[in-house]
Amino acid sequence: MSITPPVTEDLRVEQLAAEASAPWWRRAIKPLLLSAVLLVWAGNVLGEDHAAIGVDAAAVICTVCGLHLLIQWSGQVSLGHMAIVGIGGFATANFAVEQELPLPLALLLGGFSATLATVAIGLPALRIRGFALAITTLAAATAVSAYLFRQDWLAGGSLGILIPETNFFGWDSQEPTDFIVPALIVALIVMFITTKIGQSGVGNALRMVANDDEVAASYGINVGTHRLAAFLFSGFVAGIGGGLMVLDLGRASPEMFPPTESIVFVAAVLMGGAGSIRGSVIAAVALVAVPALLDIGHYEELVGSLALLLAVRFAPGGINGQHEHTMERIASLKAKRQGESK
């Protein structure tokens, strides 16, 4: 057990400040290159099975980014996001089949439909918070899947909705090796927008509201608007996630969106930890990909619950917490070495 010298904190801050003050094009090079490599690799190398996992992961990343903003930044826990994902999915299917809209437009409108549905959950959040809000969202999600998903006008009866159209900007939406490219692009865009919101004044305001809403209000931040906006954004991207799932499978039916699976998203966000979305995205990919790749059969359904329990009980800081811890250790080692060489 060593006492961390105060120098290290300055060093870490300096490091972060240097990264932040670089011109935008220099900061953009690394993520853009990485994204390009990822897309080329995913589009050309991945086989059928792995591409299908990739599309799933892309859909979950969209949802988890929104949920990260909602839980980690705005401090509001939603336990019913699978219902919103489902509404987005069903809306996308309906726009594509009933209105015969092109698929990208249907996906976008599906996201907006999910946003509208989120208002119903977000409005009580203006008055209810914390622990009671979590219960409200869970209850609302139960009602959505028990009532709304059995209505023929939305869910198309017991067989669900089949989507015959497969043209997504020239990609084939029901061919995973093909669809993985647009799905990943959508996920990357969602990650980019979420990160930007987090770094902007809105992100700071959200964190302030989460920390202490009375102080936030005294600084002229409209607490209600920010809380509601966080819900609406997370609803929109969750809807997009649901739309991606539906387009990939070519159909929408209620059993694709079991309300109990909402906790997988929450588990991903908790495993990710506070701070940037990096941890949550890693956790989301792990929760989707690891069980699918390991082929653990019926243990797959156990993963979400177990992850949630372990994250709550043993690792409240999550992946980001671990990462920060490691970076601080590295910085303190560097400081030590500099001290020795002087």
């Binding site: 008055r127 914390g130 622990f131 359904e301 156990l302």
Partner: protein
Amino acid sequence: MGSVISNGLTNGAIYAIVAFGFVLIYRNSGVMNFAHPQIGMIGGFFFFSLWVEQSWPYMLALICGVGLSALISLGTRQLLAPQETNPLNMLLGTLGVGGILTWYALDTWGSTPLFVPSVGSGVVVEFWDMRFRGAALLVIGSLVVVTVGAGLFYRYARTGLALRSVADDPIAATYMGIDVGRMSSLTWAVSGALAGLAGVLVSPFINMDPFFMSLLFLRALTAALLAGMRSLPLTALAGVSIGILEAQLVRETSEPGLTELVLVIVIIAVLLIRPQSLGRRTA
């Protein structure tokens, strides 16, 4: 009308017994145990295995089922004890436990509904317009016994007094020499036993699959919230009212999921009108 009231009364009594578990734990430490329904479900299945498959005597199987539920509940509390001061973390942790229990039940007993024969089906009590069979009488009798028994225990027993003082002010209770952690463990065990009792008693009325208690969850939660998460007699009243209203609703319309919709509207309304009924210690 008679059948509506007798069915509603029976179902409502089950909802109330499940809701008691929520209320007891919440009163004790401001925590909501979302693994509660699944804990009862495991107890019900264990009872099924012993009574139907191994043909043990009814009472012995019942005691074992209830005991197992109490043990699981106690184990959940011990596992999550370091987080007990954070209700949100407890809620999430218990959700995880509930998921694991559901998975275990699916793995052990499968998802095909199991049929549990009714106990004491020869006994029929009729008055006014209502008919109660043996199993229904057992449910309603249990509710009365549990409500009165818990009332007397909390009112007169020394441990009951200790439990009330922990609920009122845990710090003052500690200074008076009361072991708050032990009281919490006791509450969780009792609550688990009640969940197990509900799981066993409800089994003749439904087809048992690993999700049967999740159906009761929303109804029990609404009953507990309507009673302000405090009073057991009020919870019993709320549970029975929900049961009767539901029976009436089911008779009037065949719309699926309508009950859930109404209950959620009630829950949100309760939390909007009286947000202080929850989050006593989170504020």
